[in-house]
Point group: C2
Chain length 140, copies 2
DNA sequence: CTCTCTGCAAAGCATTTGCACATTG
DNA sequence: CAATGTGCAAATGCTTTGCAGAGAG
């Protein structure tokens, strides 16, 4: 991804810190702020967690990054992709992106029926992944 | 709802506090722990917030109560009903329950394809509700 | 009399914020 | 130099927990 994209037409400056955060997220995965911090640190040793949070917020504002929050854990950040939903393992909490089919229609229909505007949706499917199922068997 | 239902076959005692929490939630709505606390207090003036949280956790464990967590706000609790999803206003954060149609199928299909078991799902549709849309117009 | 439950206050975790200094355009 | 960004540490909001006493079986 062109790290400059999205920055130029904005009031935000493209600093080393911001570029590094974006680069880490471009590496893929669903990372917590803490995890982003750890990775960016290998390059910018003195960057603070506060800056990570501030940066993630800005990248969100620019539409370059998406957040996923769930119960009992830190929010996970990923670079913005096509609209998708998440498949999450209830044990290891690993996240998988899944393409949406039909969900947008259901969401839109409901929203219209209730007079809601500026509609967005989020679907999360939770279950035990293959790896964790096997681990459970081995341990039993 | 019979407040005793669910308690008897369990290791939990039915105390005044627990009955009161359940009664408040049966009153309907999607309440934060803080809101439950405020309402229960009118009856049991010295009940603590800690007890509210502990009780909500137990009621969840018994399947009598469901939680809904979202970004940037306290979790909301409601008595367990048929599987449904939530329509949330992005401004006033009011929650509406909506019956599910087709979502379970999509979720199940995806989960099976990826080998996930013990599957559950949650769909949240977010938008601006009628009330908030009107308010926005009046203020403009 | 033992086990469970409660209130209280302290701790915990994720996130945000105030401030003084550094960096940038 | 004026505006923006940063590190640090303290503050915040929600939730959990340790403990000592109260209540239930």
């Amino acid at each position: 991804m062109d790290v400059n994209a999205g920055f130029l037409p904005s009031r935000y400056r493209l600093t080393r810190q911001r570029a590094a955060v974006l680069r880490v997220l471009d590496g893929g995965g669903h990372l917590s702020a803490e995890a982003v911090h750890a990775r960016v640190r290998s390059e910018l040793t003195s960057i603070s967690l506060g800056t990570i949070y501030r940066t993630l917020e800005i990248l969100r504002d620019l539409g370059l990054v998406q957040v996923f929050s769930f119960e009992g854990g830190a929010a996970r950040y990923e670079t913005a992709l096509d609209k998708h939903f998440h498949l999450m393992c209830s044990q290891c909490r690993e996240l998988l992106n899944v393409q949406a089919g039909g969900v947008a229609e259901i969401a839109g229909e409901i929203a219209t029926r209730h007079g809601y505007s500026d509609v967005d949706w989020s679907l999360t499917v939770v279950g035990r992944c293959l790896g964790c199922s096997e681990k459970a068997l081995t341990e039993a």
